[in-house]
């Protein structure tokens, strides 16, 4: 993933996701973010998330990946279902394991 210090907020990428459970919603969203980064070459820094029922409309703010200016840290290769959990009290608590 990109070190956030060098990422500017000059582009917004909006993804709409619907699913059948909060866990799958989280999984699908993170899997989309991975694709947005790897194929869309989009370096995201900030995410504004709206959740209505079991659909999610996140505005992902960042900029196009610049391989010279942006420094990469760990490479996330996949999102996993390992211990995947989402609970909602006053706020959402999520647990997810990424394959790096």
């Amino acid at each position: 993933m990109v070190l956030l210090d060098e990422v500017e907020l000059n582009k917004t990428c909006t993804i709409k996701i619907g699913s059948d459970s909060y866990e799958n919603l989280l999984y699908d969203w993170l899997a989309e973010l991975l694709i947005t980064f790897e194929i869309g070459r989009f370096a995201g820094k900030k995410c504004v998330v709206r959740i209505v029922g079991l659909s999610l409309t996140p505005d992902f703010l960042g900029e196009r990946l610049d391989p010279i200016r942006h420094r990469l840290n760990a490479e996330v290769k996949a999102v996993t279902y390992n211990n995947l959990a989402v609970t909602k009290n006053e706020i959402y608590h999520a647990e997810v394991t990424l394959d790096v």
Partner: protein
């Protein structure tokens, strides 16, 4: 699951009894010495038990001596499923489909390379793309990518990236039958297309090694290995293509598992009947990824040979290429009956007692951690009867990547390598602690256990001279 649940059946054999967890259909078996037992995680025992609950599992849910906690299946896990009653599980193969190891032997000896090790490792580092998000220099058309998925290493050889004899020295001749590019999603194709011919990151590596001990001269002679001879070992897989295929089918199988009323102890174990449309589709896509991985290692071997020719006016011969994350349709004798089964090996290596490549037992390649020895072994009859023809795949982690980064520094690790006269090249020094010897079990102990169990026998020990860490 508690350690107290384990029952010691023999010096290196521990059983997870069938009544240790709900719905277990067979017992589990974990192969460990007392030393390796100290590294066993509760999570890994639980995962062995979870795998034992899957429909159609045969005899045992197995874990090799390099076992550690994975996603769904443990790493080091082996399970065979009946072809008509059993299941196929992407979690039993892993994200990096056909992650595997390849060994090339050069005509050069240690004393010739030692003074030029920095030059050799630097040239290889420049020739073979590695590191985070690395891309290969090949620019494939859609049709060429489909040909890779379909044909595997043979595609690369036909394009001039190697010799026809290389195919004879690959597990399954570098191509799994049944691949269908139509079962690979457009996203997986997009991720895989630019990456062919690249090492990748994490625990993937290229290592310059030297044969420092021969244990079995007859087999070593046949494999072309002599003491002090220089070898090149590659460890890589199917890159983004394999990861996306696993992701796609895991998601699809969450719902499909419910459709087939398969009770899951862990979502990452999502599976479907092997004899279902979804099962056949997954197998076709997984085989395509496996073929991509064999092509990937074949293309990188071409660049290794190119560097050797340019710098040393010599070449390298392929000793063997093994997969250690794969599901294969195989015939095994189970309770006296020959049966077709889908053997899932996740962080486990095939170790057959017969192989066409050299006319003796199948060569087995087991890499150690960075800076430690690697081994060439061969399969055995004992493996056929006790592990569905399987053995370990490496040393096996004891520290997570995060824990390794917390407890070790890249400076200390690289200094340790320098003290052993091992050159290192990487694009990401900060990730070096993740692959340090301290993050893994002792490889010599793991090899000792598989040898004493008789599930593979050591042929040669290789020590590192230089490493490119992906």
């Amino acid at each position: 699951m508690a350690f107290e649940e384990l029952v010691k059946l023999g010096e290196y054999v521990w059983e997870v009894p069938q009544d240790a967890a709900l719905r277990m259909r067979v017992p589990g078996r974990i192969f460990l010495s007392e030393v390796l037992m100290q590294h066993l995680e509760r999570g890994a025992i639980q995962q062995v038990a979870n795998v034992a609950t899957l429909p159609g599992i045969q005899k045992w849910s197995l874990a090799m001596p390099d076992v550690h906690t994975g996603y769904g299946f443990p790493i080091g896990g082996v399970a065979a499923f009946d072809v008509s009653e059993g299941v196929l599980s992407p979690g039993g193969v892993g994200f990096d489909i056909n992650c595997g190891t390849r060994l090339l032997v050069t005509t050069l000896f240690k004393e010739e390379i030692e003074p030029r090790i920095d030059e050799l490792i630097t040239t290889l580092f420049e020739a073979i793309p590695s590191g985070l998000g690395s891309k290969g220099p090949l620019r494939l058309s859609e049709k060429e990518l489909n040909d890779v998925f379909f044909g595997g290493a043979k595609w690369a050889v036909n394009q001039g990236y190697g010799n026809p004899v290389d195919l004879k020295h690959c597990e399954s001749n570098g191509c799994l039958d049944g691949a269908d590019p139509a079962k690979v999603s457009p996203l997986a194709k997009k991720r895989g297309k630019p990456q062919l011919g690249s090492l990748g990151s994490g625990n993937h590596f290229l290592e310059i090694q030297c044969v420092d001990r021969i244990f079995d001269k007859k087999a070593a002679d046949l494999f072309g290995l002599k003491e002090q001879q220089v070898c090149i070992m590659l460890h890589s897989g199917s890159r983004g293509a394999g990861h996306q295929i696993c992701t796609d089918y895991l998601k699809m199988f969450q719902a499909a598992s419910r459709k087939y009323s398969i009770a899951l102890s862990d979502k990452q174990l999502a599976c479907v009947p092997a004899d279902s449309q979804e099962g056949r589709d997954y197998f076709s896509a997984m085989a395509a990824a496996a073929n991509y991985a064999w092509t990937n290692r074949q293309v990188m071997s071409f660049w290794v040979r190119d560097v050797l020719e340019q710098k040393f006016n010599t070449t390298a011969t392929l000793v063997y290429d093994v997969a250690h994350n794969i599901a294969k349709l195989e015939k095994h004798t189970i309770d006296g009956e020959r049966k077709e089964v889908y053997v899932h090996r996740k962080g486990a290596t095939r170790a057959f007692d017969k192989d066409e490549s050299y006319g003796i037992e199948q060569p087995v390649l087991i890499p150690g951690s960075m800076g430690t020895a690697s081994y060439v072994l061969h399969g055995t009859k004992k493996a056929m009867s006790t592990t569905f023809g399987s053995t370990c795949h490496g040393a096996g982690r004891v520290l997570s990547r995060k824990a390794a980064r917390r407890s070790l520094t890249w400076k200390n690790v690289t200094e340790g390598l320098q003290r052993k006269h091992i050159a290192i090249k990487t694009h990401d020094l900060s990730s070096v602690p993740e692959e340090a010897p301290e993050a893994y079990k002792p490889i010599d102990e793991v090899i000792d256990v598989v040898s004493k169990l008789g599930i593979s026998e050591a042929v040669a020990r290789l020590t590192p001279m230089g490493v490119i860490k992906g």
